[in-house]
């Protein structure tokens, strides 16, 4: 049984007040996500990521197609006891504290009243909300609200978690913590479906990804299969040499740029012999600060596939030529 399965899932909206026109937010999406996977749902802004998540949460209803979570239709209340959802830029009730909000949600999940306080406290600890848990949410920063959002999504120890842009609004420490939480969930066997346009996160965390653009699925599969491990060159940072000395060992046309006093950034092409270049640096009295391979990234793949998508911006249903955005 798949954790998530969609078949030809489609959503059209009517846009325009006087002359309503159909707008295709999502076009025949087919997805299968296995249990225990960390699945990245990637795409540029407006690609249909949030629309898909809202369809899976039944916040909106599909125009056609179907979707299942854990083998049951998405509207099934019993399924919702087994899933968690973090909306994009979550916002909750100003007048409640984080504790009260989570206690309310725990009650909706059917958590017995005797166990609620402990469950809520554990979840707030897990997302790093300390004494602030007794402050009203109106006093929370965006990053803290995101943490509360994560806590409410994980409150019921879900089997499948849906995270819509979970890194949004977080500082580098917060992003690291969210990554750690996702990795912990993966280790527990929880299925994580998260949308993002931050590709580095997806590359680090996901076993498989899907890329959507203009409402269509343009690619899906394992990250390793999408991004072949092919080295395209080398990134060096060198100190202790002067500019002219580089000409003695780097091929013509190589980029050599001074990035600080006496510190140079060199981009060696893949055709250059790395070992002999490193030996020459040492022989000339230079010191190697760092060396990193340059290879294709998920971002390269993403940009290439999104650019290939030939659906015009402001896509409409077939037969309608008007741009709607």
């Amino acid at each position: 049984m798949d954790a998530i399965r969609t078949e030809e899932l489609t959503k059209h909206y009517s846009v325009g007040f006087w002359r309503p026109r159909p707008y295709v937010a999502l076009d025949r999406l087919d997805l299968q996500v296995s249990q225990g996977e960390v699945f990245g749902f990637l795409g540029p802004n407006g690609a249909g990521k949030t629309t898909t998540l809202k369809l899976l949460m039944q916040l909106i209803f599909p125009s056609s197609g179907r979707a299942e979570i854990l083998g049951r239709p998405v509207g099934d209340v019993a399924v919702r006891r087994r899933i968690g959802y973090l909306p994009e830029n979550p916002f909750f009730y100003d007048n409640l504290t984080a504790e009260e909000l989570l206690t309310y949600f725990a009650a909706l999940f059917g958590c017995p009243s005797s166990a609620r306080a402990a469950r809520v406290s554990r979840m707030l600890d897990e997302v790093g909300i300390g004494a602030e848990r007794r402050f009203q949410l109106r006093k929370y920063s965006k990053g803290m609200l995101q943490r509360v959002g994560l806590a409410q999504a994980l409150l019921n120890d879900p089997e499948v978690v849906f995270l819509d842009e979970p890194m949004s609004g977080l500082d580098p420490i917060g992003r690291r913590e969210v990554r750690d939480i996702i990795l912990r969930l993966r280790d527990r066997g929880t299925t994580v479906f998260f949308s993002s346009h931050i590709l580095g996160d997806a590359e680090t965390l996901c076993s498989r990804v899907a890329i959507v653009a203009q409402g269509k699925l343009v690619a899906s599969g394992r990250v390793a299969e999408m991004v072949p491990f092919r080295i395209r060159g080398w990134d060096l940072v060198v100190t202790g040499l002067v500019r002219d000395q580089f000409d003695q060992f780097v091929p013509g046309g190589t980029s050599v740029r001074e990035i600080a006093d006496g510190r140079y950034h060199v981009v060696l092409p893949e055709t250059a012999a790395l070992d002999s270049s490193l030996s020459r640096i040492t022989a000339l009295g230079g010191q190697l600060v760092s060396v990193n391979p340059i290879r294709d990234t998920l971002e390269d793949f993403f940009v290439a596939r999104v650019r290939q998508t030939d659906v015009p911006v402001g896509r409409t249903l077939s037969g309608s030529s008007n741009e709607v955005r």
Partner: protein, 268 residues
Amino acid sequence: MRSILHVATHVFRDSVRDKVLYSIVAFAVILMVSSFLIGQLTAGQDVKIIKDLGLAAMSLFGLFIAIFIGVGLVSREIERRSIYAVLAKPIRRHEFVIGKYLGLVGTLLANLAVMAVAYYVVLEYMRFVMPPGQFKITPPVVDPKLLIGIGMIAAELALVTAVALFWSTFSSSAMLSAALTAGMWVAGQFGADLRNFDQVVKSPVAAGIGRALYYLLPNFAAFDVKSQVVHGVPVAGGYIAVTLLYGAVYAAMLLTASVFIFSRRDFK
């Protein structure tokens, strides 16, 4: 059923901390207390003025609470997107709507109770400072029958809340919902005029529209028994029962329509 109770409790907790609510209740209580001073300016009518003003303050400020907090129940949740996290929980949409309604009615009743206590404190003080010779006036200063008026205000406000909830289920703008609810309340005060519209207009079409509106709009005027209870005029039990039943049926119809619309709505 349990989910409805959880939502209602949550609404009550969230609403009673709303600063707007405190302001409205505080203002109503100040008005009731100051009615004592206003009553001093009128010769012989001070008790009736205080009773009238107190009930009017409860009715008016209760209306503000029902409209401004009532429309916010759903509209504000949609505007601020807090509804996304809630509806992803194991709760059916009709449970959410009914829970919201019951929570706000509970909030309204609690506030009405605060205002009623303030009202009776003012009346008790009035009785305390009154010369002994005036004790035996009819109706009495501290009259338990005023509770009938307060009860009818509560029923009216429960119906206003249902109207506010109805508009807010398909309008994303809290202000528009508030305006529509207020408009419906004003129109509902003219039930008798709409019913007898044919006596003031010649056009049968206009008279028909007036009559149709009379049946369509909630007849809020029917709940107004303030002048009777203030002047000690008995209000028939049958009238109260029929009016309460009318309010309950109308509110149930509005809630059913709200649930129907809300259950099919896309939250974009």
